[in-house]
Symmetry: C2
Subunit: 326 residues, 2 copies
């Protein structure tokens, strides 16, 4: 097993273009742009934080048949595990810098591991984040990804800054995670836009960074819009009134499941990794402007209100339902 | 399961003495001494790195029945998982600052989780390291601990700085990990010094920090002295000559298993978490002096030599054997 795990380590190592390899796998990156002073191969990796910035750290574990189907394509499993963690940095308005992967595998299937590494590396390259360490062990399939971002103190997006009367806005689409998962469970294997939303969520790093100057509060939508909105409202000490007709439903969701189901998936489904933000109404045009060139626009879906209020624009009460992911 | 996991989160949260709790578990630490600007509860934790320092990061996963017996005391499982990761920071000469725990559990046994958390918190308090994040998921028992330390650039201990003619030294004892594991496998359950060496390894943070000004190279002994010494020698481009009679055998090891077995456990056994260092002979007295007040002294066990040389002081060739932990 030890020799096979050395093989895995090679696949999971950062692409060779950004490393100087030595005979024993000891890596000396020494690149100012990546901030990596000493790469994996020693007891610890050494990083050079950017002066004047705070470090944003988050860890998420994805367990097979709990957070994703174990027979999902390995390329998607790798992408998804990293995306889920990076989404937390997007929600803080942070710039993603470094990540570590603790990978547990039941056995070594070389093409499978290669595809998993490729899915992860491709997203990492796209997001400008560098793999700086990891550990590979034997056991039930799971991926624990720790991500590190950097953020200027004045530009941090927290959950607790919303004020009553702020607009509630979403960047990205809703319901695609739940709709895509249902499609997978119904046997869909072609990478339709819906299934892609579930298997290949995209962390909205550029969007979060662009909006950091405008948002009074924010978080990512991972457990379902209502559950996450309730977290934000509780942290900020406000309530919320939502316009359900304004929800940015994922393309194809209504066609696949009908309006009622689509709205329910948008409200209660998880795994969307959209950004949920609050901001003063007067800042909405400037925030829209800041998103020019990004993949998504900002959709205003409601208003914060007095604490205790949690209802639709028509006065119907809203209740979050638990979302069990897989 | 979700409600039970909220319970776990409470046990695993940093002890309340260092946090300001709010109604929703949102923590605002804001302590200059811990460096934590925003504690767990938001999408990411925010930390304030110390100016002029580099960040040392390492992750280790401990899987039940791979890295530790699943029926080991939970208090020891928690201690051990953190200790293994902190030992990597000790080996870099870093000061331990922050850690994250990704915990995967098959089911929720409240007293068991409480004891695990206690074992981890006690070691964390002893080492001055703060829990700043985590994730709890359902699955095969495993703990993935990511640790963060800080180190002044001029005081980093790397693996690749040894020069031919340096003294090879060990801080801590050898063979206790293998001897303690064998005792456990033979049914020993009383916490003898040997079993304690396996279940409760101690990360030598104070020792690594004190020696950072003297060591030309260093690492921790986790895979067995010879295997780890070979890694250090390869990274530094040197060989080694060892005086087997000088090995700091763990107390009780010879009495329990005889000299030959004890030496073999010290050379090939793993899980010792001693520090392996090289330093110029002229610096040995000052290094000993720097360790005054620490738990362990420095024991010189050999000399680095020309590349390719790897033998005992009597000229017998040395070969590392693979160590499979559990």
């Amino acid at each position: 097993m030890a020799g096979e795990f050395d093989l895995i380590k090679r696949y999971l190592a950062a692409p060779s273009s950004c490393r100087t390899r030595r005979q024993d796998g000891y890596a000396d990156i020494g690149s100012a742009s990546t901030g990596v002073v000493l790469g994996p191969g020693d007891d610890a990796t050494l990083l050079s934080p950017t002066p004047g910035h705070q470090l944003a750290i988050s860890v998420d574990t994805s367990v097979a048949d709990v957070h994703f189907p174990s027979d999902a394509p390995p390329h998607a499993i790798g992408h998804r595990a990293l995306a889920v963690s990076l989404s937390d940095l997007a929600a803080m308005g942070a710039r993603a810098r470094w990540y570590l992967l603790a990978l547990t595998l039941p056995d070594v299937d070389e093409p499978w591991v290669k595809a998993l590494a490729q899915g992860m590396h491709e997203l990492a390259a796209h997001c400008g984040v560098t793999l700086v360490g990891g550990d590979t062990t034997r056991g039930q399939l799971s991926l624990s990804v720790t991500v590190h971002g950097e953020v200027e103190p004045a530009r941090v997006i927290r959950r607790d800054g919303a004020r009553a009367g702020d607009c509630i806005a979403v960047v990205g689409t809703l319901g695609g995670g739940a709709g895509g998962l249902r499609a997978w469970q119904q046997g869909e294997r072609a990478l339709t836009p819906l299934l892609s939303a579930y298997l290949y969520p995209h962390p909205l790093l550029a969007e979060g960074y662009a909006l950091a100057g405008y948002a009074t509060a924010g978080m990512d939508v991972s457990d379902g819009l209502l559950a996450d909105l309730m977290h934000l409202c509780r942290a900020s000490g406000v309530g919320a009134v939502l316009d359900l007709a304004a929800l940015p439903l994922h393309p194809g969701l209504v066609e696949a499941y009908g309006l009622e189901q689509a709205q329910s998936m948008a409200l209660h489904g998880g795994d969307d990794y959209a950004l949920l933000l609050t901001l003063p109404e007067r800042d909405v045009p400037a925030a829209q402007q800041a998103l020019q060139g990004a993949a998504y626009t900002l959709r205003v879906i409601g208003r914060t209100a007095a604490p205790g209020t949690f209802e639709t624009a028509l006065g119907q009460p809203l209740h979050a339902q638990g979302w069990q992911h897989f």
